[in-house]
Symmetry: C2
Subunit: 295 residues, 2 copies
């Protein structure tokens, strides 16, 4: 395993430890919703967004106690979005990370509530003073996260995706959809690191530009894997977009050009990191990893 | 109309003006989720929780700019909970406030997303500095709200309700269920007023005790109206709990004892307001209104 992959694994472990602590086992009959939250949030995955939070915060020497909590909150939001997206009324997926999705393992009502509770808990964690000594930093975390994932961010992207299923999208439209649906949470993950570090406009701007390109490179690679990967490798259904007749980066560009585009975006992302010198190395390696991964 | 009812209407108007401003019409294809948010949040209703926020904040001379925004945030959370509770996988209701429920007017996916976006927007609004000049006050608002509505609060209550459908509950169990499902948001509405007013433990404790009794009195009356009211008057389906064989305060106590119990709780609630002298009059009248209402 490369030293980058080890770093990714380390961050995943730290995030999972934080999640495990922040969502203790419940008791009483209502504990079913907590079981469902834990089932989905502890299901593994690359923990890419927590890695972004922690690595960006590390650029500014933020205490790990702070960044691990914030990373866990972001992963709760990511998990909530997956649980709700997988519902029968939405993307109707039975498999996620190689296991039955939340509404299959439990039931639809429990899955809806588990998503709601994870979203809510993320804001609870961000607001608590263990996350950062400065209350105005904590408020900024909440507000920026909420903007990124609300009707003008991630939820808007999911809505766009559902509406779009009815008509063909062109490149600018697919780009905009993905910017909202997956890009906004990736961008805010980097911003969370910067906010925790109380850094100035220039460095925030650079991280934003990095996250923008990284997010698109990530999504194009996802679209490629959806065509090229196997269900076994990916732990989720493949060829779904093609079967649904949805426009993706791959359907619009073709595999070869899509792969090339992801490569260009990855290189572009890396260029934005110059200001951070060698401290930015992990984020550079991440930009390479994102386009070269097999799942 | 009594002066109390006029005060209730005034607060409802102020809350609706705030909501209208905080959820501006969207554009682009993803605007459907904003249409759904507005459809549900602007559907009227008593605006009981915003009234509690504003009236409690008024006790401590909080600026109305602050309390109206916080009240709007609480109403967004209430509306999100109704939208999700009405879904087919949950209580499966077609009618709410005399109109088709969100998933009937739009579709299930849009309703899930509209609920998600309202919950998210509530935290955005609470975190923004227009809501209160002190960031630590704003963090406290977010954290207390999140605790009240998460897996150990409102969502836990909804889970309990779904699980309970399978077996008979006794009085302590029904009381606990309602404390979580409806009581927690009512209590935190009062707490939000107190937090905005930066008041001490004693006054917070009194408001908490008031909200506790008020919440139960409200729920018992709801159970009575479910039996005695008409669908037309209430604007929602009636006799649902009885038809589903669910234990309620009325099924456990009978109508007469339930009515008596609501009355006692209302009087008890009023007693907790003594410390506020005549400033507490609106809250006193609310406690009477809650048990005497016809819808």
């Amino acid at each position: 395993m490369s030293s980058f992959e080890e770093a990714l694994k380390d961050t995943a472990r730290l995030t999972e430890a934080a999640l495990n602590k922040l969502i203790p086992l419940g008791d009483g009959p209502e504990a079913q919703v907590i079981d469902a939250m834990r089932y989905s949030v502890m299901a593994g995955g690359k923990r890419l967004r927590p890695f972004l939070v922690i690595s960006c915060a590390d650029l500014f020497n933020v205490s790990r106690t702070c960044s691990e909590r914030a990373a866990a909150a972001i992963e709760m939001v990511h998990t909530y979005s997956l649980i709700h997206d997988d519902l029968p009324a939405m993307d109707d997926d039975d498999l996620r990370r190689g296991r039955p999705t939340c509404h299959i393992e439990f039931d639809e009502a429990t899955a809806i509530l588990a998503g709601d509770a994870l979203l809510t808990l993320a804001f609870e964690v961000l607001g608590e003073d263990t996350t950062h000594p400065s209350a105005s930093v904590r408020c900024e975390l909440s507000v920026e996260l909420a903007k990124a994932i609300g009707a003008h961010g991630m939820v808007g992207g999911q809505m766009l995706d559902l509406v779009a299923a009815d008509h063909d999208l062109d490149m600018p439209e697919v780009t905009r959809l993905q910017r909202l649906k997956t890009g906004a949470l990736i961008s805010v993950s980097c911003q969370v690191g910067a906010i925790l570090g109380k850094v100035g406009e220039n460095q925030r701007h650079m991280l934003n530009a990095y996250a923008h390109d990284l997010g698109l490179a990530f999504q194009i690679t996802d679209d490629l894997l959806d065509i090229e990967g196997s269900e076994e490798e990916l732990g989720k259904a493949t060829n779904k977009d093609e079967a649904a007749g949805k426009a993706t980066f791959v359907s619009l560009l073709g595999q070869e050009r899509a792969r090339k585009q992801a490569q260009i975006l990855s290189e572009q992302a890396i260029k934005h990191l110059e200001v951070f010198q060698e401290k930015g190395n992990l984020l550079r390696e991440l930009a390479e990893f994102v386009v070269n991964r097999r799942k």
